[in-house]
Amino acid sequence: MAGKKNKATRPKTKVPSASADVPGEVRISRRSFLGKLWLVIGGVALLEYLAIALDFVRPRRTRRDGENDTIVIAGPIERFEPDTVTAFPEGGFYLARLENGGFLALSRKCTHLGCTVPWNADEGSFVCPCHASAFDITGDVLDPPAPRALDLYPVRIENRIVKVDTRQVKKRRSFDPTQVTYA
């Protein structure tokens, strides 16, 4: 019975308002307009919550600053022989000095699925233990499945000291000579 009583006391949304009987004029009653407004407001609140949630799970930069995302001072250039590769495990990169004396800072993350690639000095290449991708000293792909050359970090040489900026990583398709930094 409660249902019926409700219907009697609460007018349906279609009840015409005073001015709705003007012929040809379609009007939304105030009640149904307000009802829809509530829905919209509720929807907006939900979206806001979702947006905030995304921001909560996304990169928390302030947290990361203290970790390893800073400028790594690799050392004086004399420390690195041409045609050698030096690992910087804390920075997560390799400093490669090419035969012509130029420097490249290569990310150690395989571009296939992200395993850590070790440098194999005997073969002069990086070989990924996970699915056997191989890269040369410039980071170029020797063997797939890796789709791209190893990522780079910007290298700067100030007062003959090599510095690597590990805050931003540069993706690239393959090696080209403009990527190399010289003293």
Binding site: L54, V57, R58, P59, R60, R63, R64, E67, P89, G92, R108, C110, H112, L113, G114, C115, T116, V117, P118, C128, P129, C130, H131, A132, P144, P145, P147, V169
Partner: protein, 463 residues
């Protein structure tokens, strides 16, 4: 106002308290007591008082949904215990698990139970999906419950995946690396998705916190809500689908049986046997705990959790865009649309639709059983699209081209079946469902047991 009943005013305090909690009968003497019990108890009133007698047959549902729910509660009970000793930060996670295993009373057993229940849950939910499909329990009014089931499957997978990282050992660290690496291949949103899941560019403390919160709060809450919704829809549909044999019409007034004792007794025994099984498994086999995670040293080979290995195997054969984006997406969409395809017949309750359907299903299974390994081996040793088509983008040579060939072959085969055996839409869809499911299982098995160092094909005994 009427006077209070005698039991409520004049009996002893304990008795009155007891009757305030259990207002109906507790120990039933006859059927009307049994009906009253089901109606008046909080936990039992979710169930109907009676159900179609045919639905009691164990081999109709295999109790798979009920077993999944049982495992969920086992997981909740053991998970809460684990939360008291586990520390979700890279410096402590591994040690807290190691400590749990060596120093806590039954610590190892509790962890093993959690581990085995979680893995078994994936298996049982998958079997449940297959049973629901094969008994045709997705026609109206059960369409949307199929979708709710898919959401539950998704939540179960996410729960398992996020749990996988918790021990922070080599196995978990690199498995999560591989899977988040796969996400990176999604066009446009790949990198963003990767960042959201990892909570940054690296797998580190933020990743662990994200996973921990998802694993211990978000997913259990979602699963509980979805489960209640799922069960409510079963009742609204008049219980699970009633089994019938091919050619048999739906009964107007099926014979009924009382839930108490018939259904509850069966459910209770199945749950007990299941728990005993998990117990034995957990006493005999330990959950793995390898070396602590070392971001500088990848193991060879590195594999995703076993339930994602079918996709990792696809990755060996297809361009990443196809292996981890297009094919899984098509698979998910296909599953989603199963109840909404336009069918000619309503075969609900008939195992594999009809005699023709059973025969075609068998053909599909055998075809997949034969073709999938042949393709895997052929692709390993002979097929090399890249080398045959130098200069062509690998997305085309390793993706569009093979995918189109396979898709065309499957479509042609279906058209042939439709013509030759005048198969209905129902039967053709079931054919595809069986074929692709079996193929996926074979891909998964290959990647689990037949892929060794550098992902080369090997025999399981030389792994």
């Amino acid at each position: 106002m009427s006077d209070l009943k005698k039991t409520e005013s004049q009996s002893g305090l304990l008795r009155r308290f007891w009757h305030s909690v259990f207002r109906g009968p507790v120990y039933p003497r006859d059927d009307s007591d049994r009906k009253l019990i089901v109606l008046s108890h909080l936990l039992l009133h979710f169930r109907p008082v009676r159900l179609p007698a045919k639905n009691l047959r164990y081999t109709h549902t295999w109790g798979l949904g009920g077993m999944s729910m049982t495992l969920f509660f086992v997981l909740a009970a053991t998970g809460v215990l684990l939360m008291f000793v586990y520390e979700p930060s890279p410096g402590y996670a591994y040690d807290s698990i190691a400590n749990l295993q060596t120093n806590l009373l039954f610590g190892k057993l509790i962890r093993n139970i959690h581990y085995w229940s979680a893995n078994l849950l994936i298996v049982l939910v998958t079997f449940h999906l297959i049973r629901v499909y094969l008994t045709g329990a997705y026609y109206p009014p059960r369409q949307f419950n199929w979708v709710l089931g898919l959401l539950l499957l998704f939540c179960v997978l996410v729960s398992n995946f996020t749990g996988y990282l918790m021990p922070w050992d080599q196995l978990s660290y690199w498995a999560i690396t591989i899977v988040t690496g796969m996400m990176g291949y999604a066009p446009f949103i790949g990198e963003w998705l990767q960042d959201v899941v990892r909570g940054g560019t690296e797998i580190g403390s933020t990743t662990l916190v994200n996973f921990y919160a998802t694993h211990t709060t978000v997913m259990p809450a979602l699963i509980i809500v979805l489960m209640m919704f799922h069960f409510w829809r079963i009742r609204k549909a008049g219980g699970v689908v009633i089994p019938r044999s091919p050619g048999e019409e739906k009964e107007e007034k099926p014979e009924q049986a009382l839930t108490l004792p018939h259904l509850l007794l069966r459910e209770f025994s199945v749950a007990l046997v299941l728990i005993a099984f998990v117990m034995v498994l957990s006493v005999v086999f330990d959950a793995p705990l390898g070396e602590a995670a070392n971001p500088g040293m990848s193991p060879n080979p590195a594999k995703a959790p076993w339930y994602f290995l079918g996709f990792q195997e696809l990755l060996i054969h297809f361009d990443p865009l196809f292996a981890v984006v297009i094919i899984p997406l098509l698979g998910a969409l296909g599953l989603f649309f199963i109840p909404y395809i336009r069918y000619e017949k309503d075969t609900s309750g008939i195992f594999m639709m009809s005699r023709e359907g059973r025969r075609l299903g068998l053909v599909a299974a055998l075809t997949a059983l034969f073709i999938t390994p042949v393709f895997i081996v052929a692709d390993e040793y002979w097929i090399d699209w890249d080398a045959w088509m130098r200069g062509v983008s690998p997305v085309v040579s390793n993706g569009v081209l093979p995918a189109t060939i396979l898709g065309a072959a499957l479509t042609g085969y279906c058209a042939f079946l439709k013509r030759r055996y005048s198969a209905s839409n129902n039967e053709v869809v079931q054919f595809v469902f069986v074929l692709l499911s079996v193929a996926f299982v074979i891909l998964t098995i290959t990647e689990i047991w037949f892929r060794g160092p550098r992902m080369a094909l090997v025999w399981p005994w030389s792994l």
